[in-house]
């Protein structure tokens, strides 16, 4: 019964979305206040009904109701409770239900926090949001119903894919979806602005917090997925340029560009048309990602949704929204007035530079991901595009962007003085060159990693220098504390965001250049020296868990000091229901950021194949992304963004820090 209530609630949510997609927009056209005001309560109602639907499916998973097809296919009575819950979205139908639930959540949040938006804008935004919602409710209900029942309920379920029985699954998809779907708000705002034919700096101020929120979640989601892959798969890699990863990277790159161009729009009333286009692109790329993953169109190892009906349906949604919004853009963009002038060397110029390179980067990932599909569809030719392609194209494209990054925040609006910036960064430049030389001398006269370390130093110290310059630490230390407190939060957010990029780069360079890998067969009693560690295979121990059995390889690791040995226990697990083996790696962190990584392979003769890695500074990759996300959150707390839109007295308050920048 509860499951049927869930199903029915989802249908009701669709009905509400249908009303919401028409009435408020009609009200905005006719100037009917009551029709426009409907949008708010309906969005909240929509969210309530989807939440009921989602709770119903969760309930079915928690109580292991195997009469529900979705539960039968993805759950098992002995599965631990956390995976029963995360298993709700560990499958196609459930994950699409999560998708629409998050969409409805964002709609309700806009209705709630957007009460001080201009009435027509709010009505149009929520109307457009409902169009997206209608499309995806239909998709779930018509092609991916999670509530379908069996006539004859089976006794036991098939269990969840063992690789997904990990805490990573509990966190990674919700974060990623909050990011993906969050860009729908920027999209709805852009479409609403085009419908109204009016856009101003206030628009950017309303859109920016939503974009920033989505960006923070997407950053965390991608980073989390990357770390999950790193520890779960046992290959020691953290990014594979797989099409499905690229699908999440594209909206991230476009979203990052959007965050930056919206600043120009907010502060200087410039780049309006471009910002609108980016808002459309960011969400279109999210939709593209959903299509690529959910349709199984990629001849990717990931294609586990291979039902063509679904693919065609999402492709329809994609064409409708991307095509529709771009048509609207083409028709209306010219009506938007162009704003502020600026010299090439200026803060605006720097942000345009940022946008140029991020867009080129997005285009690179786009063409690399889709080119094999397009080539095969048009000529039948089959080619592969993999990591070596992206390393050669995307990598070099990002270098100028990273070199320029610390200089941007130093430049003044309208017209900047590049010489003054260089002067202010002179010390940082010297230190970066020193970092290159020291790395080159200490680390085997290898120039590329040395340059990488230099660039990372430049990024970290450069962003630090900017914030220290702003609080006048070197010129007027007596006022520094007061200025540090008075500085707008967005300035601290910028600092953290940029600093995090440097930290991440340092991790990438160190891991890439100085990782050590050993592949060998080991028997109990064997030991091997890896970097400064002595890794000794003690014995193999059988063990069992709630729904799996495993063989643990017990290792003792000494690090060349008198510290007691550390026990590391990689294992090979077999999940009983699917009788599928998985590798559980053992990872030990040394010196805060570096890791020793043990993964067990197949048995070979009397021994077992082992992969042992030393990964210097590898954790910095994810710590860097975490710092970037924290920067986003700090920026969100900036008072000019706090409530979405400034009320009149807040405008006065916000003008001061804005002028100070």
């Amino acid at each position: 019964m509860i499951v049927e209530i869930g199903h029915y609630a989802l249908v009701l949510a669709l009905a509400l979305a249908l009303v919401q997609s028409v009435v408020p927009i009609w009200g905005a056209v006719k100037g009917d206040e009551r029709a426009m005001a409907l949008a708010g309560p309906i969005s909240v109602g929509q969210f309530v009904f989807v939440a009921v639907a989602f709770s119903a499916l969760t309930y079915a998973h928690v109580v292991s109701d195997f009469s529900v097809v979705n539960v039968f296919e993805n759950s098992h009575s002995t599965k631990p409770m956390i995976y029963k819950i995360s298993g709700v979205w560990g499958n196609h139908e459930g994950s699409m239900l999560l998708w629409v639930a998050i969409l409805a959540l964002f709609g309700a949040l806009v209705a709630f926090f957007g009460r001080n938006l201009p009435q027509t804008l709010r009505a149009n935004v929520l109307g457009v949001q409902a169009w997206v919602a209608v499309a995806f409710y239909l998709f779930v209900l018509l092609t991916s119903n999670p509530f379908a029942r069996f006539g004859q309920p089976p006794m036991e379920g098939r269990d969840l894919n063992p690789l997904l029985q990990d805490v990573g699954l509990a966190i990674h998809p919700p974060l990623l979806y909050l990011g993906y779907v969050g860009f729908s708000i920027a999209f709805s705002f852009a479409a609403a602005a085009l419908i109204e034919g009016r856009i101003d700096a206030a628009w950017a101020r309303w859109v920016r917090p939503w974009t920033l929120t989505a960006w923070v979640f997407l950053t965390l989601g991608i980073a989390m997925g990357s770390y999950w892959a790193y520890y779960e798969l046992g290959w020691g890699g953290w990014w594979f340029w797989d099409p499905v990863e690229n699908a999440s990277l594209m909206p991230w790159l476009a979203g990052t560009a959007l965050l930056h161009s919206a600043i120009v729009m907010e502060k200087r009333d410039g780049l309006k048309i471009w910002t609108i286009l980016l808002a459309i692109l960011a969400f279109s790329l999210s939709l593209l990602g959903t299509f690529l993953v959910r349709s199984g169109v990629l001849t990717s190892v990931h294609a586990f949704a291979t039902d063509p009906a679904r693919g065609v349906f999402i492709l329809g949604i994609l064409v409708l929204f991307v095509g529709g919004s771009l048509t609207l853009f083409a028709a209306r963009a010219a009506t938007l007035t162009k704003g502020g002038l600026f010299a090439p060397v200026s803060r605006e110029g720097a942000l345009v530079f940022n946008n140029l390179f991020l867009t080129a980067g997005t285009a690179t990932v786009f063409v690399g991901t889709l080119y094999p599909l397009m080539l095969e569809a048009t000529t039948g030719g089959k080619i592969s595009v993999g990591a070596p392609f992206f390393d050669m194209t995307f990598g070099p494209l990002m270098v100028p962007l990273l070199i320029a990054l610390p200089m941007g925040p130093f430049l003044a609006w309208k017209r900047g003085d590049i010489l003054a910036v260089v002067q202010r960064l002179a010390a940082v430049m010297v230190l970066s060159v020193v970092a290159v030389l020291v790395t080159w001398m200490l680390k085997g006269h290898d120039i590329l990693p040395a340059l990488g370390v230099g660039l990372a130093t430049w990024l970290m110290l450069g962003s630090l220098a900017e914030i220290l310059w702003r609080i006048k630490l070197f010129t007027e230390p007596s006022v520094s504390l007061r200025r540090a407190v008075g500085l707008p939060r967005s300035a601290w957010g910028t600092f953290l965001g940029h600093f995090g990029v440097g930290v991440m780069l340092l991790g990438i360079v160190a891991e890439g250049a100085w990782k050590i890998e050993h592949v060998l067969v080991m028997k109990p009693g064997d030991h091997i020296r890896v970097e400064r560690f002595d890794v000794a295979f003690e014995r193999a121990v059988p063990n069992s868990g709630p729904n799996w059995d495993e063989v643990i390889a017990r290792f003792e690791v000494t690090d060349g000091t008198s510290n007691p040995p550390i026990v590391m226990e990689p294992s090979k697990r077999t999940y009983r229901t699917r009788s599928m083996p998985t590798t559980e790696t053992a990872i030990e962190t040394y010196g805060l950021f570096s890791q020793l990584y043990l993964a067990i392979g197949e048995a070979q003769g009397e021994g077992v194949a082992m992969r042992i890695y030393w990964k210097p500074l590898v954790l910095l990759i994810w710590i860097g992304t975490l710092i970037m996300s924290i920067g986003g959150v700090v920026s969100l707390t900036d008072r000019r963004l706090r409530v979405g839109a400034p009320t009149p007295h807040r405008v006065a308050a916000a003008a001061l820090p804005a002028a100070a920048e």
Partner: protein, 156 residues
């Protein structure tokens, strides 16, 4: 997007055992040659598991290719010769970094074309706009400058 790596591993483990690619018994004893073999393996696609290099994949075909690459290296092939040999047998599909030719010209040039065209577009837009609006800031006239100096002097 959601379970991407896990699903990658799922597919792999369906094809073969757990995810450990290059096996100890395949490796060459000369570390220099082995390093070359590993480098080449990262450039070659495992044809059956797709989107995985033979270095990452555990499929039997990937193993065959790894062994083949090492055999060619041992007989004295250069890296290019090894790649040519594999392309002759399996087609361009085996390369993860497609070669530049008529089929892939767009792929290789588009990233840089976007950059150059974008830069050109921005340059033109800036020039057109500043031409229309005159210079961004007219320099101060002598009178204005005198007045500014006066104000600054008063302030300090």
């Amino acid at each position: 997007m959601s379970f991407r790596r896990a699903a990658a591993a799922l597919a792999l483990s369906l094809l073969a055992g757990p995810a450990v690619a290059v096996q100890p018994d395949e490796m060459l004893s000369d570390p220099k040659l082995e390093a070359r073999a590993r480098e080449l393996s990262g450039e070659l696609r495992c044809l059956v598991c797709q989107n995985q290099s033979i270095d990452d994949s555990d499929a039997p075909l990937a193993k065959d290719l790894r062994v083949l690459v090492r055999e060619r290296i041992k007989t004295g092939d250069t890296n290019t010769q090894v790649l040519d040999y594999l392309v002759a047998r399996y087609g361009e599909f085996v390369l993860l970094r497609p070669r530049f030719n008529a089929h892939t010209a767009i792929l290789w040039t588009l990233p840089f074309a976007v950059l150059i065209l974008g830069a050109g577009g921005i340059f033109l837009a800036l020039r057109r706009r500043s031409a229309r609006a005159g210079s961004i800031e007219a320099p101060l006239s002598a009178e204005e400058k005198a007045r500014l100096d006066e104000i600054l002097a008063r302030e300090s």
